[in-house]
Symmetry: C2
Subunit: 285 residues, 2 copies
Amino acid sequence: MSYECLICQIKSLQQRLDKYEIPEEKRDRIVSDVLKKIAAIDLEKSYSPENTRNILAKLKEHSTVEDPYREEKENANHQLLSRYNEFRELVNKSSDRFDTALRLAVAGNIIDFGPGNHFDLEETIKKALTSDIAVNDSKELREEIKKAKTILYLADNCGEVVLDKLFLETIAHPNVWYAVRNEPVLNDVTEKEARAVGIDQFAKIIPNGYDAPSTLLHKVSSQFLELYNNADLIISKGMGNFEGLMHENNPRLFFLFMVKCPVISRKVGAAKGELVVKRSKKLTL
Amino acid sequence: MSYECLICQIKSLQQRLDKYEIPEEKRDRIVSDVLKKIAAIDLEKSYSPENTRNILAKLKEHSTVEDPYREEKENANHQLLSRYNEFRELVNKSSDRFDTALRLAVAGNIIDFGPGNHFDLEETIKKALTSDIAVNDSKELREEIKKAKTILYLADNCGEVVLDKLFLETIAHPNVWYAVRNEPVLNDVTEKEARAVGIDQFAKIIPNGYDAPSTLLHKVSSQFLELYNNADLIISKGMGNFEGLMHENNPRLFFLFMVKCPVISRKVGAAKGELVVKRSKKLTL
């Protein structure tokens, strides 16, 4: 991970101390401890979302708040669900249903309470439907979906999950697994929120066994890992999952996300705010 | 200092790495080192501007940039100097010349490239001339200026120095020392910029012997300290000087600044953006 990710994580710290309702008298100590811990890590060998997870775990130790982003998560799901029929109609009336549903699903990735806190959903959807996808392997994705017997879909955030549902309804694949975080972390989807929006109508839900805002293969459950290793196609949503899996070099893996920060922008060669549908590099044999 | 100051200093780090033109390949290491260092400090016994100074000194070690804020400093001085006659007329036409010059001098403190980077000088001056001063010991300050044989004026930022000059012209005291930073640090005034705007027409300039964006009595030169100890009145401009001297409990000392962050806001009981003219607490004998 980059030093920029470290700075970004510390930038978010004040807001997160508030979210976890950490008592004032504990904050000096906790912030010092957090800084000590993250100053010691080897950046080259570390994953940014794992570090975020460890910082949040530290706050959790000193907090009585069960799920600090519960309200935001419910609001985002409620807001998007109330427009489900409108979005579905948009898909059904479009000349290319797959393309429209895909763009909406990626645009949904703008709903995030990590870095880049402010977003305009309306503007984002409009842009997603009319602009070029900056990195675009969607043709290959379409082919792989047709061929795949088993699809593993790695979820990201609440709100976004509703547009994932529409995408899953659109591709109408008979064997999709929808992987969620094991426990609440930021506004990421857990089993509870996935069920609440009805993902289970179109996919089987599986918790990934860990509570990082990412998919970290050295931390997930063996059950999840087995599924990951055997799925014909893995669709990974969001920057957090990308950061955990970007070195995988696995052609079964497609990354779908919106670029939200300069580090990822440089890594994929797309500007902030642009859509990415990127196949993980093919294995060189 | 508060944990909030630590977070704030790290928030500024990215921009400062750029300002000092630190090579990309050195940044991971430098940021880790900076975090290690500031994670280890005892917050209760530390001064925030001293910590800022130490972070900047670390960047300086790896930089070839002599004075990263040179351009901003020159621009701010140039911009304010070009309006000197306009401001002077404002003072001379006002019903209370002292009060108007004082308000302008404090309003000038908005010109800052530390925390709270964005400012609207026009709006600030307008507000300063028409709103109440939130913490207002200016009556006592006026009396003390009349009585003082020697005044020590602790400078803060460039741009602001021009309004200090107008204040000094207005009080027309025969024996004022204007103390500046020894070396460039952020946009703080050094001897060079103080001379460039003609402070020496109304005061003797003295470098304070250190390069923190503050006045740290355990770090300043003995020559400066002697002056500090013997002056009848000390006028301290800006939040940085306040942070260095707020525990002094010295009735010879008046703090003039604009509140720019929540930590200082709570400390003085005035909102962000408000003007403060505060006498250091009287000694309880």
